[in-house]
């Protein structure tokens, strides 16, 4: 037997571990990170995963001994090559970092779980934690650790209502339609509102990237929010440059949306850079449409996007994902969510991998101070089903997830995947006692949408304030 299975690796690498008669060597810190990651298909596809269960467990031991300081010197993607790295390093706050600067990754896990890590200390620590530190500790944590620590990370954000307060869970009402048919969209919005959904945002994924179409949908949702005085915000999830153009044309933009990744190359493949986001944030702030807060950005992320764009620099997908949170927190978003199961089984193979990734993303984002939600979802070619989503929903509800999606009957007829339904949100409310955003909760009672707000019971009849709309719709059908 040859003791070292990879003799070509530099024998001098600092990352070595002797287990019995066998010496494990790791190329560099990125290699340790990748191999320490709980198993998932995307890392195998990238060729960065551990080659055996033992190698994974050994990599975790090596990672546990890495000092947190090391992540400020040993940059996983060079500073000169990547603006996300520059953002991470330039914005790092050594004063905030001081209380944990002497810890290793393994110590950091212990500290996070200890009672010393109070809600206030975790808030103060945020600017001192880099995404790589968060990703590293996450790899050593069990699911229950990810839940327990995330519970302690309080993050709230506001625009026309207040999101993320402890004991609350919000929902994005997602009324997608394959041809953006306005009547079809209105029908899904009505359904969602009457099931008490939509406090995080009413957000449409448009069927095309056409600008005129996006503006039409923005006006449509703005009209509905004004007509019923709904304390919520709207968003058309189109490209940031489209939203910039829409604002120039005077469209009623509440939130600017963009999908983001954790490397500069990923973001260029998405067609934007940090300057684009800054410009869009300024433009949205200048509209002054928020009433209780000024968080105007909405970002989506998801493990695997960098590999999919061939922009992962040899990093594992969970580390790339966490770097995206540095991009997000630069722009003080109202909402961030990981679209965890959308990307498909070549990145997250089954329910187990999707559940793990959802908990990881939520934990890392909360630790870094983001209002993190989750699109608890799967595609039909993944080995996953509704039961897996029930599990993840329940776990994230316990962990203090900021928001989830709400869609009629879990079936997105435009994007062809399944996410949480309006009913699922009510399940989580009842099972875990989680309330909607306070302003929105009052509106639900005032509009008689909930007949028993304490038990989250919708009105058994048609709430009077919406009876006229239904009559108009049915009358329209008669003609």
């Amino acid at each position: 037997m040859v003791a070292d299975p990879h003799p070509t690796r530099p024998a001098r690498s600092a990352y070595r571990y002797v287990l019995g008669t066998r010496t494990y060597g790791f190329r560099d810190l990125a290699d340790v990170m990748a191999k320490a990651t709980p198993e998932r298909s995307g890392d195998r596809l990238a060729g960065v995963a551990a080659e055996s269960a033992e190698e994974r467990a050994v990599a975790q031991r090596v990672l546990a001994d890495v000092p947190l300081q090391q992540f400020l010197q040993d940059l996983l993607i060079p500073y000169e090559q990547d603006e996300v790295t520059r953002l991470i390093i330039d914005d790092h706050d050594p004063v905030a970092f001081a209380p944990i600067s002497h810890l290793t990754v393994g110590d950091f896990r212990n500290w996070l779980l200890s009672d010393d890590a109070s809600i206030e200390r975790l808030i103060a620590l945020r600017p001192g934690i880099t995404p790589e530190m968060a990703a590293a500790v996450c790899k050593l944590m069990r699911n229950q650790d990810l839940i327990l620590v995330a519970q302690k990370c309080h993050v709230s954000s506001a625009f026309r209502n207040t999101l993320g307060l402890p004991g609350h869970l919000s929902t994005r009402l997602q009324p997608n339609h394959p041809t953006d048919d306005v009547t079809g969209i209105a029908a899904s919005i009505l359904d969602g509102l009457l099931y008490g959904n939509g406090d995080a945002v009413i957000g449409i994924n448009p069927a095309t990237d056409n600008l005129a179409q996006a503006i039409k949908l923005m006006k449509m949702m703005d009209g509905v929010i004004q007509e019923y005085g709904i304390p919520t915000q709207s968003c058309v999830l189109t490209h940031v440059t489209n939203t910039l153009e829409a604002m120039e044309k005077g469209a009623p933009v509440d939130l600017v949306f963009q999908s983001i990744g954790g490397t500069e190359a990923t973001n260029s493949s998405f067609g934007f850079n940090l300057a684009t986001l800054a410009e869009a944030q300024d433009a949205a702030l200048s509209l002054k449409r928020g009433t209780v807060g000024n968080n105007v950005m909405y970002f989506e992320t998801g493990q695997g996007s960098s590999l999919s764009a061939n922009a992962h620099h040899g990093l594992d997908q969970q580390t790339c994902e966490t770097r995206a949170y540095a991009v997000a927190r630069k722009f003080s978003p109202l909402l961030v969510n990981t679209v965890v199961g959308f990307i498909g089984p070549e990145y997250l193979f089954n329910g187990k991998e999707i559940i793990r990734a959802g908990l990881e993303d939520h934990f890392c984002a909360k630790l870094l101070g983001l209002p993190m939600g989750c699109d608890i979802c799967y595609t039909n070619h993944a080995q996953a089903d509704q039961n897996d989503m029930d599990n993840l929903l329940t776990l994230l509800g316990v962990a203090g997830c900021t928001f989830i999606m709400g869609i009629p009957g879990s079936d997105d007829i435009m994007l062809n995947y399944q996410t949480t339904s309006f009913h699922d949100a009510l399940y989580a409310r009842r099972a875990l006692g989680l309330r909607p955003a306070p302003e929105f909760g009052h509106w639900l009672t005032r509009m008689q949408i909930f007949q028993d707000a304490g038990r989250f019971t919708p009105n058994a009849g048609m709430p009077p304030s919406f009876a006229g709309s239904l009559a108009r719709a049915l009358q329209g059908d008669m003609q």
């Binding site: 306005v182 009957g409 709309s469 719709a473």
Partner: protein, 282 residues
């Protein structure tokens, strides 16, 4: 929605009638705050069908038999049966790179075929199982019947290579098929990722000067081809416009795409936002 009678314990929704306006699962009613049994069973059936569409192997013998009269009528020769480098479905689902290439035996078979035939073709057609064998078995014959007829009646002549059926294939495998068969353009018919309401959706991808290693930027796509989606005649109309323009300009992909962008979608009927009192037509 199934017609199961909803007895007690279910609160129906007054707005259930709005389902005529959308395929979205609105107005499902509730048992407590949860999904009523009837709606639950409907969902389970749709999910089962979508999963079966992914995992059911394409019945290639049946497909070949289906296509035989068509191949004969248009003098296409024998349909070729080939396989990607992904040996089975679990591998296929996790290794997109393997699904993009033909295995050695298949590549050899296409090379042999090409050397025994004419010097080249205007068009090769790869029929690829992709993520929905059902999309292929239900849509291929009617779609190709319409397409081959349209090409026959086109002002230009189109020489078409023998049809190729690829198992465990991804879109890009069509480039290798086209390259080996010496085709100037390759067309891929592929089973798309199935949705809950659309387990049978066919995708069309066209590439000029196909060769191994091209990316999506070199392709043009027409999606959602099926009886309840983009119907065959419309899909053939769109595709022949693309094929002709591609042939004339000797390119495909992004440069063609920009010209064929759809304008704002306008519904056939005037769509109204009934949530606003003035029946806004915005």
């Amino acid at each position: 929605m199934s017609q199961r009678k909803q007895a007690g314990f279910v609160t129906a929704n007054a707005w259930q009638a709005l389902r005529v306006h959308t395929d979205a699962r609105i107005g499902l009613g509730r048992a407590g705050v949860s999904l009523p049994t009837a709606a639950l069973l409907d969902f389970q059936l749709a999910h089962a069908q979508a999963q079966d569409a992914v995992h059911q192997a394409l019945d290639t013998a049946a497909l070949e038999a289906q296509l035989a009269p068509l191949a004969q009528a248009y003098n296409l020769g024998e349909t070729l049966q080939v396989h990607s480098r992904a040996p089975d479905r679990p591998t296929y689902l996790q290794r997109p790179d393997l699904g993009r290439r033909l295995d050695e035996t298949s590549a050899e078979a296409l090379r042999d075929c090409a050397s025994s035939l004419s010097s080249g073709f205007d068009l090769s057609i790869a029929i690829v199982d992709g993520l929905s064998s059902r999309a292929i078995s239900e849509n291929t014959l009617p779609f190709l019947t319409a397409l081959l007829s349209a090409l026959k009646h086109d002002s230009e002549e189109w020489s078409v290579a023998p049809l190729t059926v690829v198992r465990q294939g991804r879109v890009a495998v069509g480039d290798e098929v086209g390259e080996l068969l010496n085709a100037r353009t390759t067309l891929v018919l592929v089973g798309e990722r199935p949705g809950l309401s659309s387990p049978d959706s066919l995708g069309l991808y066209m590439t000029w000067a196909p060769r191994v290693g091209l990316t999506d930027a070199s392709r043009n796509c027409i999606s959602n081809v099926r009886k309840a989606g983009l119907i065959y005649g419309d899909a053939v109309h769109k595709l022949t416009l693309l094929l002709k323009e591609s042939r004339q300009r000797r390119l495909s992909g992004v440069q063609l795409k920009d010209r064929s962008q759809d304008p704002v979608i306008e519904g056939a009927k005037a769509a109204t936002n009934f949530l606003l009192p003035n029946l806004s037509h915005c």
